[in-house]
Symmetry: none
Subunit: 501 residues, 2 copies
């Protein structure tokens, strides 16, 4: 009898396209939330939205189905949740609202542009160039990868495209050249070390430029909102603020990883020759590489707001417009063709899941949930009687650590950052509010260090198999603490020198 039931369950599990256990847990979470009495201060519709949001996040963390499907479920749930209120038209408009967000299309365009970097081979050339300069020791190659990330970061608003799509293939080809491959017991030679450096360069560079990771513009928006529009970070201000502490982190990171997880092969006398021969084999820049380089240069100029500096504020271009101009330039020069664009599944996947998560965060805000949560936090922290430095530390610490629960920095930032910033601004003396907000901004990227599902780059590098999960989490925790410490000390000093507080 039990055997038959077991066999039936096993058959059912093999047939359903989702993971049954996680699906049941997710459903239980949804039912439990819906059964919970609506908390004081929230409308029932707002609480239902919280239930939809938390269920979606749980489903994403537990990987019930691909994240895009869970996002579609959320869109559908929001569309249906107001049916009995007779406002199906308003509900579907709400549910689709974020698909016209310039932020979403910036990411889509950036992913499409990064395809050009890979397609033309320019990404590979850039990598080899750095290695030919820095590749005499494994540590040197590590620094080469980190610099590679740093150079690409201002141009690649998708940290996944940069760390996973451009630098990771270079890192893999280097490890392969040294006979260090995962699954053959040789990954320890240089692979594990380089994969970790490849990964940990990603959060640091993401913190350094407004255009280095997708949710950074969101961070700017939240900081502006929380500060009552007193602190609005431009591309240049952001880059300036993060430059010094970011560079120190980037300098320390390959050394610290070297110390925790040393490569077996420390001297790499052939790397320079390998890179040089690769560069020689590539020959001079091809026409398409030149176009790609030109488009990158143009985009950097525009993202750095050069036209406005020269011609006046009227010529400030929205970053999304810049990305569209770059993408269009690649297409009309034949560097990318339209079929490349339509076939870039990652772009459409991101459009949908990222769009849905941004929409949920917007709806939570619109429904007053964020406000309510911020009030709750404020009351708890006020009741605790902590001094403001402790308040700031608790806020940043809790915010960063809670990323263990999230599979996307955007989801995390959309859901929690505005609330934490608002509480902080209320409780921290105005004179110290700026460094607190900049710490939150830095933390929102540094938290990517923590897990193998923290951001899009993580599953790509982790999935290559160079690094075990235990080592990944151990290095992640160390790097997180170290980087927060650098930003809190050197960062605060630097921001004070810049006259920001």
């Amino acid at each position: 009898m039990l055997k038959t039931v077991k066999a039936m369950v096993r058959y059912f599990m093999s047939v359903v396209p989702f993971r049954l256990g996680p699906a049941l847990i997710t459903t239980a979470v949804l039912l439990a939330l819906l059964a919970t009495p609506v908390p004081d201060g929230l409308k029932p519709a707002a609480w239902h939205l919280v239930a939809i949001f938390l269920t979606t996040i749980v489903a994403i963390i537990l990987k019930v189905m691909p994240i895009g499907v869970m996002a579609m479920m959320a869109i559908m749930a929001v569309s249906l949740s107001q049916v009995t209120a007779g406002s199906s038209k308003a509900a579907i408009a709400d549910a689709l609202s974020s698909f016209s967000s310039p932020l979403i299309w910036l990411i889509v365009a950036a992913i499409l542009i990064s395809r050009g970097l890979k397609k033309t081979g320019l990404g590979n050339r850039i990598g080899m160039g750095f290695i030919s300069l820095l590749g005499r020791r494994t540590l040197g190659i590590g620094y080469g990868l980190a610099i590679c990330e740093l150079v690409l970061a201002p141009f690649t608003p998708s940290n996944t495209a940069r760390g996973g799509g451009i630098v990771h293939p270079i890192m893999k080809s280097i490890a392969g050249a040294f006979g260090s491959d995962p699954g053959e017991g040789t990954q320890g030679k240089v692979g594990t070390y380089l994969a970790l450096v490849n990964y940990h360069a990603n959060p640091i560079t993401s913190a350094m430029f407004l255009t280095a990771t997708a949710p950074n513009p969101l961070v700017v928006d939240y900081i502006s909102k929380a500060s009552g529009h007193a602190l609005h970070l431009s591309w240049t201000t952001w880059a300036l603020c993060m430059a010094l502490p970011g560079l120190l982190c980037l300098l320390l990171m390959p050394l610290v990883v070297y110390w925790i997880s040393p490569p077996e092969l420390k001297e790499t006398p052939n790397a320079v020759a390998f890179a040089r021969s690769e560069l020689a084999r590539m020959g001079p820049l091809s026409g398409k590489e030149r176009v790609m380089l030109g488009v990158f240069g143009l985009m950097l100029l525009l993202w750095a707001n050069v036209p406005a500096l020269v011609l006046g504020d009227a010529f400030t271009l929205d970053p999304t417009v810049v990305a569209f101009v770059g993408l269009f330039a690649l297409i009309i020069t034949g560097t990318l063709d339209w079929d490349d664009v339509l076939g870039e599944k990652t772009a459409w996947d991101t459009l949908i899941w990222f769009g849905a998560l941004v929409m949920l965060a917007e709806q939570l805000n619109k429904m007053g949930v964020i406000r309510w949560f911020a009030d709750l936090m404020r009351d708890a922290i006020i009741a605790s009687g902590l001094g403001w430095p402790a308040v700031a530390a608790v806020l940043v610490g809790v915010f960063v650590c809670s990323h263990y629960l999230f599979a996307s920095t955007t989801a995390h930032i959309s859901a929690m950052m505005l609330a934490f910033l608002t509480v902080g601004v209320q409780l921290i003396p105005a004179a110290y509010a700026v460094p607190f907000m900049l710490m939150m901004a830095a933390g929102s990227a540094i938290m990517m260090t923590l897990t193998h599902y923290a951001t899009g780059t993580s599953p790509i590098i982790f999935g290559s198999g160079y690094v075990s999960m235990g080592l990944w989490w151990r290095v992640g925790a160390v790097m997180c603490v170290l980087e927060l410490a650098v930003f809190a000390t050197l960062g605060s000093l630097w921001w004070s020198i810049l006259g920001l507080w």
Copy 2:
């Protein structure tokens, strides 16, 4: 010398990814429009928008590059056109606005759902069933599709859901069963003919029932307003008025399309036997086919607004929500997987090009261009001193033809119809006002025939690739004239018999 120049031009033309001649013509059109003085009553920004719109349409007609690229160019142009006004943020928000339109996502979802019909084999089965009943001649299948549309029309208030979501996948399966597929040079066998019949059934059935397309209730409202509430069309009156001319159009349409664009395969003597043997070979419905059938049945019930009829108006579901429910049902049952969704390039292509065209039409309206055009018309007609029959003909003709500028009937009707009706009622003797208003009502659906972006159904069927743009526009013009003629003659007679004038 000349030879060298010729060789250089030829080389250049072989290198650029666009068609050089059309690109030059398009550029000339843009420059000519920009050089034209801004017409009285329009702001410069509005005139620039007209220039962008007309240039985009010319670029699409001349096929400078894929339509999606031209659409992206339009989005970029709109984003950049307000740069010197210092409102890049507002401009990009405008340019992306239609990507959150429920109509656009209804189209995307319908395309994705139709993939399920193909994947499960249910589409093929339905197609074979159709052929086994009507398949002796291609013309017979055409009539079968038209009857299909007619039967569904009273219950499907979204003509996109009906023509694009339900009938088109069946049509594709039938064409596939005859080995007539786009992009393989075989679409001419039966595919082109059936796609055109599939499409042209849509405007006719939309004209026939108040509940057959979304803007019809708006038309009723405008007619009521323009006539000083003298003519209020109920569901039954509408259906009665349109029945006879509508049925004649539906009877003529497959024949006329047969004459303009005859299928290569006219007699299909073996088709019935083949279809029967295929049906026998398929055996009983598979599990996934049952799911597909169930989802289709569910969507039909929801699109026909059955929940609202049973449970009250509060349960009216937006057609896009219904499509999302259907798509989600297909995914969680494993009928479609997420990779199918992301790999469906047509969906993403349509999202971009149709979205851009809807956006341009919305912006033209927002900028006051449509209002300006309607006023100009009114003044010209009053000044012309034409007799009332000419006035009526000009009003209906101009109203219908101006749909070449619109990507949505709802946008067109809400922007222009009331103005045209009001002018007509002022200039046409009261005794003849009713047939004029009914002609306007019929024309508001018949105008869907004109372009491949006229209504939501158009991009879905056009996007499948059976019909070239030139043929689409040619057949559209012929059908439009023919149907207007049928309504003007038989319609007027019929309405007189009904005692309406």
